[in-house]
Structure formats: structure tokens, C-alpha cells
């Protein structure tokens, strides 16, 4: 019985993670920074759980030259479901902390990581779509050129350097994932010890 229950500090960490996830609802999760010589002030695209923010209008204005579709929050159903998914995860973390069952912890970990991978794949898919399905009547057509932004890291697109990286919310998500992993490992080692 003792093996099946979680240690006190693990439960505390789980509650902390839940709090972190609640915070994610209010801060940007991801950002794409655009740098170009004629934009000394820099441009950025912020992705929140429920909408796109940052210099969306300016970026849409620039994108019309290369024939990229304009970005609008309403075009992505992800923004309607994501806040709920995050809230549900926060609730699950609390439930796991209260119940204290090892099985719940492991299931939560698999679910959380699975969701993370699914989210990144979905993001990549949208980037591919927008970067490749260009308007054939666009003013600037560079043969063979596609404008898919990087998933994570740096990529040069014509005169713009694009940097895609997690923002506060994204870091919290990653942090929660790491903490969850540590909890799982610690709980597994603990269960191995007490024999």
C-alpha cells in the first residue's frame, strides 16, 4: 500500500504544476521573432492558448507580397479547445496529488507528454500549410521558395530571420513536463527501494 501512494513532496510538486498550468492560460505559449534590416525595432508573433497576438497586422501586411495567407485567430479551432485542455490537465494534476496513486501519476505523465507531441506536430502542420500554399498571383515569387517558419530554432526567409521558440507559457509547459518526469522517476525508485 505504501508502494502505491506518492510521497508528500511529489504531491506538492504536482499541485505546483497545476498552478503553473493555470498561469499558462494567461501568458503567451510560443513566439516567432522576425528580424530584418529595415525593422530595427523587431517584429514578433505571440501564440496564446486562445489567440494570436503581437504584430499580427504588420506581419499579415508583409506576407501579402509573397502570397502567404493572412493569420486570424478565428481560422484555428485549436484556440477554442486549447484553454479547456489546459484547464482539464490542471484539474488532473490536482486530482492525482490528492488521490496519491502511482498509476494515476504514470497515466498522467503519458497523457501529458502525448499531448505535447501532438501539439508540436499540429503546429508544424499549420506552418507547413501556410508556408507552402502560396497565392500564385503574388507579387514576389522566388522560384522554388517556400516560407515555412521553423518549428523551433532559426531559419532565414528572404530578408527576414525567423526565430521560433517557446515563450513563458511554453517554458512552464516544458518545466511541468520535466517535473512530472522527475516525479515519475522518483516514485518508481522509491517503490523499488521499499521492498
Amino acid at each position: 500500500m505504501q508502494k502505491k501512494t506518492l510521497q508528500k513532496w511529489v504531491r506538492l510538486v504536482l499541485v505546483l504544476c497545476a498552478a503553473g498550468l493555470v498561469l499558462v492560460l494567461f501568458v503567451p505559449m510560443w513566439r516567432i521573432d522576425l528580424a530584418a534590416p529595415q525593422y530595427p525595432e523587431g517584429l514578433m508573433l505571440l501564440i496564446y492558448p486562445n489567440n494570436i497576438g503581437g504584430n499580427v497586422d504588420i506581419i499579415n501586411g508583409l506576407n501579402h507580397y509573397i502570397g502567404m495567407k493572412t493569420l486570424h485567430t478565428a481560422d484555428f479551432m485549436e484556440f477554442t479547445v486549447l484553454p479547456y485542455i489546459i484547464a482539464v490537465f490542471a484539474a488532473l494534476f490536482v486530482i492525482t496529488a490528492i488521490a496519491g496513486k502511482r498509476k494515476l501519476l504514470n497515466s498522467l505523465f503519458i497523457l501529458f507528454v502525448g499531448f505535447g507531441i501532438l501539439a508540436m506536430y499540429d503546429f508544424w502542420r499549420w506552418e507547413f500549410n501556410y508556408g507552402h500554399n502560396l497565392n500564385p498571383d503574388a507579387a514576389i515569387i522566388v522560384p522554388g521558395m517556400a516560407y515555412q517558419p521553423p518549428l523551433i530554432g532559426y531559419k532565414q526567409l528572404l530578408n527576414f530571420g525567423a526565430y521560433s521558440m517557446p515563450d513563458i507559457g511554453g517554458w512552464i509547459f516544458i518545466g511541468v513536463g520535466v517535473l512530472l518526469f522527475l516525479c515519475v522517476i522518483a516514485t518508481w525508485r522509491n517503490s523499488k527501494k521499499i521492498r
Binding site: 521573432d33 528580424a35 530584418a36 534590416p37 529595415q38 530595427p40 525595432e41 498571383d137 503574388a138 507579387a139 514576389i140 515569387i141 522566388v142 523551433i152 530554432g153 532559426y154 528572404l158 530578408n159 530571420g161 526565430y163 521558440m165 517554458w171 516544458i174 520535466v178 522527475l182 522518483a186 525508485r189
Partner: protein, 664 residues
């Protein structure tokens, strides 16, 4: 054990996450070397090395800067009225802005070009083009004043102008917007563009001694947009090259519709051949109306004449005047290197720079190596005229100039840089960023046979954070580079007036010695001149009053004028009697709805003023001329319309009744 591994794990994870954040490359930094200040500094009391004539774009004027200091020396009024100088407000200068549309107070002085002899800048005149109501202006470089403006018939927009042949035989103009010619019905549906709209190139001859302009002939061309042009030099003298875009012949949403074709053209014009046709009477005389305005420094006044005929050569009919060379992609710059052999096209949307060879082009024409024709004009096979392409130089090439050492310098608007490349090797040698989005560059003599490649100036379109902010509207930025070495070095950053689209620079020695200090009063042939205070008078003819006035430190003569009636049209003809350096006088009168006058020594200028109200109207000198400048004033008395106040004009006589008795 558990605790340490746990800690190590945490530290490792944190370290990885932090390093991800820092993988964003830092800004390369705008490092300016320490000796830039020395290179750009002109000590107090010393002169700049170069005159830099910079087009004002939407200001309509021509700016004169000194290099390397970047100091603004003078703004020469050309196509826009300038109330400060009375340009377009004084009776003598108003005719300069006359056109077939009437008086036009503003235009867009787009490009500028210095006159040349034997392909070298000779410092006599500088030309400017009006992009809105098509005209070309000639400015004299002894007085730095606009001497002549000629309008262009059959034209709309004038962009590929005012470029000249190597001995200033001709200055050209070319339509930016194709329109139905003046003698055809212009009231046609806009989407009949392909059927009815034509482009027109004008060759304006320039008098060898006096610079007088005259439209020698025009060439009617297909309905494309002409962008920039340059004359052949040396071996290619006799030819002129024009970049064309919108060969798609779109009349709407050109942003998309004129960017569709992979290649547009550079049009090569054999103007020596055109001259032969002209002599042989092959041109068609067309009835048109266009203004020709000339300012004389002897009469200090302008005359405007409406001309009614122009000779047009048809490029379709006269088969061997025009040829098209395919050029990627919506070309802008069309630049000829100092040897006259290489023609560089800069396609705004292209990812390469094509370099054409004059020898190959003439060979291709002789061998009839054509791939078809466009509206009757033969198209030369691209590869047959091409010398080579510079690959991946940058994004958005616009304009190229040369250093005379076999190198070319091209501006890139989108990637905001200037790229130096070797013409023979077609290899990029150096690149420098500009701040931001450079449009045009200038090397002194950079488009002539003998460039003086000490400096390069980049004129940018985006300023943003370059200088202290001044609200939403910012001055355009320019950067000065030292190109005397192998690598380009940024030495100065300075704002410019208006919006430069082109500039010219020449060694100061060529001009500064010829600069006029003042006008000789005995040569003044203005019909309203007063060559001394004894010649001053006030003359009434009906309700028109002519005031013949003089000014000299520190009084006007007359300075008390009575007997003006309400409704009178008063003309103040003021002669500056000074014969010394830098002693101008100004003139302003209360309630004037014209402007002021600034009168140079020996000059006569006229301001029209209407007596709208009864009362007392002071006038004064507006230009601080002397220790007693503040005392340089006068009064004008306006009486009611039917009054019998006698005409009185004097200086130093009209004392109050009591005073005048004691003064006896």
C-alpha cells in the same frame, strides 16, 4: 545518492533550456570605425570637397549638400513654389511654373543629372525632371537658379529623365504612364489600354553655348512603363537604354498584374539613326500644346511661350530605331559602365543582376538574332545580348553606379544593403548594410565616363530610429561611405530634405570658382528697373499702380506712399542697388496674399499686392541686411475708392506739419 542525482538532473535540464534561449544570434551591431569622424569632418572655415546635388522628390526642389560634411548648403526652388524666395510668387518667376494646364505650383523633382562634355561632368548646368506634369528643368550653376523649364507633350509621368548623352547633345524624358497621345481621343475606357495607350520618349536638344532646350523629336513606343535610362558612352555613344516594366500592359492592380511576367525589357534606342530619319523628313509633325519657359539673368524675369508643334517618329514604322532586350524582372535601374560596353539591368523582383554587352547586342542585331517582336519592336534573344549574370547578390536590386576601376555598386532595397561586385568576374566583393532600405546611390561621376570614386552616398527610404524622432513624419536618411579602399566604410549618417530619388556629385573646384557674387546693376534690363534713387516713381494707370522702388542699406525709396485707392492692383518693382557680396534685401507688406521678395544685389523683382482695405499698410525689409535693418521700413496709405487723396511718394521728405516747419 538520490538527492545528488536529482540535483544534477535539474541543473542539466535548466542548462539545456537556458542555452536554447541564447541560441538566437545577436545583432551584428552597427560598428563604425574610429577614424570615420576624421574622414567626415570639415573644420570650421574650411570647404567641403564635393557639391552633392540631390533631388527633392515630393518637395519639388533640388537640394545642394556639401560632402563629406553632409551640410545643407542650399535648396534651389525648381518645380514647387517657394514663398521664402518668392519663387512662383513674384511676377518675374510665376511664368516659370506655367504649363499647358495653367499655373502648376507643385511637382515631384524626381531625378537630377549634371551636364557633361566628353563624358565628364563639366559643371555648367544641372537638370531635373518633373514626374507629375511632365517637364524638364535646367539649373545654372553660376547662379544656382532655375533658368529654363520645358513641358513635354504626349506624355504622362516622366520618370526615365533627365538623363543625358555624353556631350549633353540631348536630355531625355520618357513616360512612366502610357496614355493616348495628345492628338488622339483621350476619353476612352481605361481598359482599352492595350489598344489606345502609347508610351513616348522625348529627345530634348540642349544648346551648346546657352543650354537652351528644344524638343528635337519624340519616339512613339509601345504602351509600357518607362522607368530609368542612361546613355551609351564611348563605343555605345549614339545609343540610349531605357528600362521598361508592365510589359503585361496592365491598367489596374499593377502590384500584382505587372509582376506576372518573368522578364520585361531594356529598350535600346539608336538615336543617331533617329536623327537620320528626322533629317530625311520621316517624322510626323503633330499639333500639340506645351509650355516653354525661360528665365533671363539680364532682364531678371521669365517669359513663357506655348509651343504648338512637335515631331514624332513611329518606332513601329521606322524599323531600326528601337530594340528590346529581355530583362528580369520588372527592371528599375538601367546603368551603363564607364567604358560603355556593359549595360546593367536591376530587376526589382529578381534574384540576380543581368549584365548585357554592347558588342554582343550590336552583333545580335546585325545577325537578326530575334525571338519575335513586341508591338512591332524586335526582341533580341536574351542569351545573345547577355554578358553574364551576378548570382544571388541580394534581394531587390534597384540601381547601379561605377567606380571606374572595373567595379559596380548596386543598391538592394529589400535586403537593405549596397553590394560591390566586379563587372568582368561577376563576383561579389563586398557588402555593407544601409539604414534602411536603400533606394539609390551616388558616386561622384558614377554614371559618367570618369567616376571620382572617393565617396558613395546611399539614399534610403526608411528612417525609423536613425535620428532623434520627430513624430510620425521623419526626414529621409542618407549614409556616406568611403570607397577609396577595397572595402566600403561607413563614415557619416545625415538626413535629407524631401525624398531623394537620384543624386549627382562633382568636385567643388569645378563650380566654386564660377559662382556669381552679385548681378551688375548696369546690365539690368528688367523693364521696371530703377538704376538709382533718382529713377524711382509711382505711376497710376487706371486702377493699376506701378511702384518703382529701390532698396539699399538701410532704406527703401520711396518709403512713404499715399494716394492708393481701395481696389487698386499695386505692383512693387524693387531694385536692390547694392553691388557687394551677400547683401540681399527682402520685401514684405502687410496682408499680402502673395509672399515676400528676396532681392539679390543688382536684381529687380516685382510683388503684386491688392489694396483690399482702407487703412495704413507698413512694409519692411525681411532679410537682416545691416546694423539698421530694423529701421528699414515704410508706409503705404490706402484711401477709399473715390477719394481725392493725391499720389505722393518720397523718402525723408513727408514730415509731420509742425516738424516740417522746423526742418526748414
Amino acid at each position: 545518492m538520490k538527492k545528488t542525482t536529482f540535483n544534477v538532473l535539474v541543473i542539466a535540464v535548466v542548462a539545456i533550456l537556458l542555452s536554447l534561449q541564447s541560441c538566437k544570434p545577436k545583432n551584428a551591431g552597427n560598428a563604425v570605425s574610429s577614424d570615420a569622424a576624421v574622414k567626415a569632418y570639415v573644420a570650421p572655415g574650411k570647404y567641403d570637397l564635393f557639391y552633392n546635388f540631390v533631388s527633392g522628390g515630393f518637395s519639388g526642389q533640388l537640394a545642394t549638400y556639401g560632402l563629406p560634411s553632409g551640410r545643407l548648403l542650399r535648396v534651389i526652388p525648381v518645380f514647387s513654389v517657394d514663398p521664402e524666395k518668392g519663387w512662383g510668387y513674384s511676377e518675374e518667376t510665376k511664368p516659370m511654373l506655367n504649363t499647358s494646364h495653367g499655373f502648376v505650383p507643385w511637382d515631384d523633382l524626381h531625378h537630377t543629372e549634371l551636364s557633361q562634355t566628353n563624358g565628364e561632368i563639366d559643371g555648367r548646368w544641372v537638370f531635373g525632371n518633373a514626374n507629375n506634369t511632365p517637364r524638364v528643368a535646367r539649373i545654372d550653376l553660376t547662379t544656382f537658379r532655375t533658368q529654363e523649364i520645358i513641358e513635354l507633350p504626349n506624355s504622362a509621368g516622366n520618370h526615365s529623365s533627365p538623363f543625358i548623352t555624353e556631350n549633353t547633345e540631348y536630355v531625355v524624358a520618357g513616360t512612366r504612364f502610357s496614355v493616348p497621345p495628345d492628338d488622339k481621343n483621350g476619353d476612352v475606357p481605361i481598359n482599352s489600354y492595350k489598344q489606345n495607350f502609347k508610351g513616348t520618349i522625348s529627345f530634348i536638344s540642349v544648346g551648346k553655348e546657352d543650354g537652351k532646350m528644344d524638343i528635337a523629336f519624340q519616339i512613339q513606343c509601345p504602351g509600357v512603363n518607362f522607368d530609368l535610362s542612361h546613355a551609351g558612352k564611348g563605343k555605345s555613344h549614339g545609343w540610349f537604354f531605357f528600362s521598361c516594366y508592365n510589359t503585361e500592359q496592365a491598367n489596374t492592380l499593377l502590384e500584382v498584374n505587372a509582376s506576372q511576367k518573368d522578364k520585361d525589357f531594356i529598350m535600346a534606342v539608336n538615336w543617331k539613326k533617329a536623327e537620320e530619319y528626322l533629317k530625311a523628313g520621316k517624322g510626323r509633325k503633330q499639333a500639340v500644346r506645351y509650355a516653354h519657359n525661360v528665365y533671363s539673368d539680364k532682364t531678371h524675369s521669365a517669359t513663357s511661350e506655348i509651343k504648338t508643334e512637335v515631331t514624332v517618329l513611329d518606332s513601329k514604322e521606322l524599323k531600326d530605331i528601337c530594340y528590346f532586350m529581355p530583362c528580369p524582372k520588372s527592371p528599375h535601374g538601367c546603368d551603363v559602365d564607364p567604358t560603355g560596353e556593359y549595360i546593367v539591368g536591376s530587376g526589382k523582383l529578381a534574384a540576380l543582376i543581368p549584365v548585357f554587352s554592347f558588342d554582343k547586342m550590336t552583333k545580335a542585331i546585325a545577325a537578326k538574332d530575334f525571338i519575335g517582336d513586341y508591338d512591332g519592336i524586335p526582341i533580341i534573344k536574351y542569351e545573345s545580348a547577355l554578358y553574364g549574370e551576378v548570382q544571388k547578390p541580394g534581394l531587390g536590386p534597384l540601381h547601379t553606379e561605377f567606380d571606374g576601376k572595373g567595379n559596380a555598386y548596386t543598391t538592394f532595397f529589400v535586403s537593405s544593403e549596397v553590394v560591390k561586385w566586379n563587372i568582368k568576374d561577376l563576383k561579389v566583393m563586398d557588402r555593407v548594410p544601409t539604414y534602411y532600405s536603400v533606394g539609390h546611390l551616388c558616386i561622384p561621376g558614377g554614371d559618367s565616363k570618369k567616376p571620382n570614386a572617393k565617396y558613395l552616398i546611399a539614399y534610403n527610404k526608411i528612417t525609423k530610429d536613425r535620428y532623434l524622432p520627430t513624430g510620425p513624419e521623419l526626414a529621409q536618411s542618407a549614409q556616406l561611405y568611403d570607397i577609396s579602399g577595397d572595402k566600403m566604410q561607413l563614415i557619416l549618417d545625415f538626413p535629407t530634405i524631401g525624398e531623394p530619388h537620384y543624386a549627382q556629385a562633382v568636385s567643388a573646384d569645378l563650380i566654386k570658382g564660377k559662382s556669381l557674387k552679385f548681378f551688375k546693376i548696369e546690365e539690368n534690363a528688367n523693364p521696371f528697373v530703377s538704376k538709382g534713387e533718382g529713377e524711382t516713381k509711382v505711376v497710376r494707370t487706371g486702377n493699376k499702380v506701378d511702384v518703382y522702388m529701390t532698396c539699399i542699406r538701410s532704406h527703401f525709396s520711396p518709403d512713404n506712399i499715399e494716394g492708393i485707392k481701395m481696389g487698386d492692383e499695386v505692383y512693387f518693382h524693387i531694385t536692390n542697388l547694392e553691388q557687394d557680396w551677400d547683401v540681399p534685401h527682402g520685401f514684405a507688406i502687410k496682408g499680402a496674399n502673395t509672399a515676400e521678395l528676396l532681392i539679390m544685389p543688382g536684381e529687380t523683382q516685382t510683388l503684386k499686392w491688392t489694396a483690399e482695405k482702407v487703412g495704413m499698410f507698413p512694409f519692411y525689409c525681411t532679410d537682416f541686411c545691416s546694423a539698421l535693418h530694423q529701421e528699414m521700413q515704410g508706409y503705404l496709405r490706402v484711401s477709399p475708392a473715390g477719394s481725392n487723396v493725391p499720389l505722393l511718394f518720397s523718402t525723408g521728405k513727408n514730415y509731420p506739419v509742425a516738424d516740417s516747419e522746423t526742418k526748414k
